[in-house]
Symmetry: C2
């Protein structure tokens, strides 16, 4: 059980954690191996909703080099009524041209046929190497096998089908206020030999009036508040599906708790990561300014190496904050305005803070440390 | 002799490289040890111009956490007629409050008195640890000693007085078209235990009608085109001084050659660096877009580790370019648009390129690789 592992997750009262292999009522999933991964690991997954009426929201990377599955989701999918998702790991199907787009469409159409759904109600997500043609025949075989293996307890196998360099599957199922939320994610650390990707799938039987607004708000408080190395992937995808069959709205904080838990697991499992930091910026003139300073500190290789080296080096926070506010006149930042003590401690979760004294706005970010293992993973593998 | 060491420096025809310890006519310099550095190394320097009429330009960091000497230069110096500069290494005098500002003023006033100059015609620059009070008494003693040691061959000793983690002094003296340009710099790699700083001093006997415009243009083509880890220092300072006694204008390209040479030495000597990359972005819609893409590629830890690992990984360039153009629709970038071959080669200077196919604008950046030694330097030293 990983839930509540972090001090930073605050679930609603009365929450109950269920076996993460179980999905919210009305959903089934599966993961199988089709041979994309050299080690024979699970690499094709299917996630479906038994109900034909599903309310959904889909968030996609803004990277201008978006992969084929992202383009299919963006241009050829009914994002508001996604019944199913088909995924693979081992090949990102990015920078693969027209053939890549056709392959992503073929995956989608095969999944739709296998479960009897409209093609435009099926989302596609892929992760792995880029610039390599997809062995789509193998994937189509995997989809047929996955359709035959769908189970209401298939969440863990589905999660395995999206893993790349993740050290462990990231899944979480919570129940509170008469509704269930299940979710599965994979990490944003870079992938051997290529790119980062963050994928996240969330299912619930709660009623959600505006899934797009609910998902954007939860992502803004979870996946948009984390950084491993400041890099935006070609394949990032987040999907929220709701059946509404519980005839009850989501309790406050339940979606946030699930998504922040998974986001923090992604940071903790960042490539080579040994510790997670949280920078709190207070006293900024505007929310945008607070956000810029928090991101500058979280993405600073100097702060990230100080976290790795257990070095309570407040000067590096002053420098990063000053860089984010370049051109502004700022009162000098010193130990009275910066709390960097936790960098020097032994805790796996280190809280640091800076007070800018310019106003009332605040923001925070979570980040992983920059380590020898990050260099090894990204430099010592040669394509 | 380091000049022409890089394939990327194109000096004007007929250029002659002189001993880098020699300054342009009319300038003298010195460096001495006053005890700021634990190893007893040279740590206080003085640079002066014999002529009382000097035309100058001063560029300072825009970091909002600017150090005391930067604030003195910004608020209390005649940047257009700087006769002398006083410097120290070992202490950046940053985040040191009112006392730090008073100490920087005291350095300036002592240097002015020692050489008989107006206090407001003396620039101050410091580099080293931050947040530590300056032992200003030691520095004032050093200034007196440096004033007694001034020499027209003192450039190398002066350069030693600004070195921190630099592996070698960076100085260059060139002659062409009847004028001489001498310059000294220190590196932009991070400093144990604290911050990066880039300092550069340039002297010439050429006539320069608008030193501010000349310096901004040369910096835009040299120090603003390099990155080690994307961090802006609290202390960056560049000073150009011209006596005009040669009664001849600067030959085209001479100032650029000197400054690009030193900028490239700074990149090559970045913390832990083993190789230097040059990314050329072509076919951008606007110059700003070209610049954003070049900076995103140069600052990407994935591209920097690929350079270290000799990995011709074009996918990482596609990802970084796509991130810089987030939200735009971009034709897919693949091997036809990206030349990453040199990453995989053995050359110390690797040229890579990306063609965006969106317009006619181009830009380039120089960057160092991200290595185990960078992590060691920045993580394994504890303050």
């Amino acid at each position: 059980m990983t839930f509540l592992r972090s001090r930073w997750v605050a679930p609603p009262a009365g929450v109950e954690e269920l076996d993460p292999s179980g999905l919210a009522p009305g959903f089934r999933a599966a993961g199988v191996a089709c041979g994309l991964k050299d080690d024979g690991g699970t690499d094709v997954g299917l996630l479906t909703c038994d109900a034909t009426e599903v309310s959904s929201a889909l968030l996609l990377t803004r990277n201008a080099s978006a992969a084929a599955p992202v383009r299919v989701c963006r241009d050829d999918t009914d994002g508001g009524s996604v019944r199913a998702a088909v995924v693979n790991s081992g090949n990102a199907n990015a920078s693969t041209g027209e053939q890549g787009y056709a392959d992503a469409l073929a995956m989608r159409d095969a999944a739709a046929a296998a479960i009897g759904a409209e093609p435009r109600s099926v989302a596609v997500a892929e992760t792995g190497v880029i610039g390599v043609p997809l062995r789509v025949g193998d994937v189509l075989g995997g989809i047929a096998a996955a359709a035959g293996a769908l189970s209401e307890h298939g969440a863990t196998e589905f999660t395995r089908s999206i893993m790349t360099t993740d050290r462990s599957p990231k899944a979480c199922t919570l129940r509170a206020g008469g509704v269930t939320v299940s979710a599965q994610a994979k990490g944003a650390g870079m992938i051997e030999p290529d790119l980062a990707t963050m994928l996240c799938f969330v299912q619930t039987d709660a009623e959600i009036a505006d899934p797009g607004a609910a998902l954007r708000a939860a992502v803004a408080r979870s996946f948009e508040r984390i950084t491993v190395d400041g890099q935006m992937s070609t394949n990032d995808t987040v999907l929220l599906q709701s059946t509404g069959t519980a005839a009850t709205p989501l309790p406050d904080g339940l979606l946030d708790a699930v998504m922040l838990q998974l986001a923090l697991e992604v940071v903790a499992d960042g490539e080579g990561a040994t510790r997670v930091g949280r920078i709190e910026v207070e006293g900024a003139a505007t929310p945008d300014e607070a956000d810029r300073v928090a991101r500058a500190v979280a993405n600073s290789p100097l702060v990230q190496t100080a976290l790795y080296g257990h070095d309570p080096n407040w000067g590096r926070i002053a420098q990063a904050a000053g860089m984010a506010l370049a051109g502004e006149r700022l009162a000098e930042l010193g130990p009275a305005q910066i709390d960097a003590e936790a960098l020097g401690g032994e805790e796996a979760e280190a809280e640091i803070a800076v007070w800018l004294g310019r106003g009332e706005a605040s923001a925070h970010m979570y980040f992983s440390d920059l380590t020898h293992e990050y260099i090894r993973i990204n430099a010592e593998y040669t394509t």
